[in-house]
Amino acid sequence: MIWHIFYNSSRVINWSTSAGVDDRIKTEQAEAGLSYVQVEQDDLPIPENFYVSTGEDGITEKGNFNPTFSTTTPTIDTVINVTGLPAGTEVFLDSVSKGTMSDTTLTLTTSEPGKFDVTFKKLEFKDLTQRVITAKQS
């Protein structure tokens, strides 16, 4: 199946269709800042699973994050070491971006009790969320 894919400057797929796309649509999308690439594949090219390849001549399936947490049920005032993440990963805490990792080192410091959702995002990987639950006072 032929897919017509429109994507942004970060190579994130914005939308796609297997229906016909004429030059008028391509022009409108270009004016909106979206580039175009055509691919042939069976799978639906949804942005959660695919991104536009480096050469912008096709799409690539996203990989999986595989981080290791020193603990996900820490006590208060614990430093959690997270390893196995690539540099360039954007880290979110409860859906709010906390920045992008410049290297592969990430630590999480627990200073308050509660449940925290830590999400990792990077173009080449599927989003991953890990819940961290601070243990109650023992």
Partner: protein, 62 residues
Amino acid sequence: MNINLTKSGATFTTKRKDYYPNLVKQLDLLYHDIDAGKLGETAKTSTFYLARKAVKDKYPSG
């Protein structure tokens, strides 16, 4: 890169609520304080203490 795990809008009330030991644990702490005489000998005649002690006596710990 380090991130502090904090909740936006968290108050002292919510922080305390999330950090207190669970109620079973708190009641057990209270029982043992009574048992140790920290609340006075009359506390050992309270229905709370006696009810809890009855259960402990029926199912003693190993």
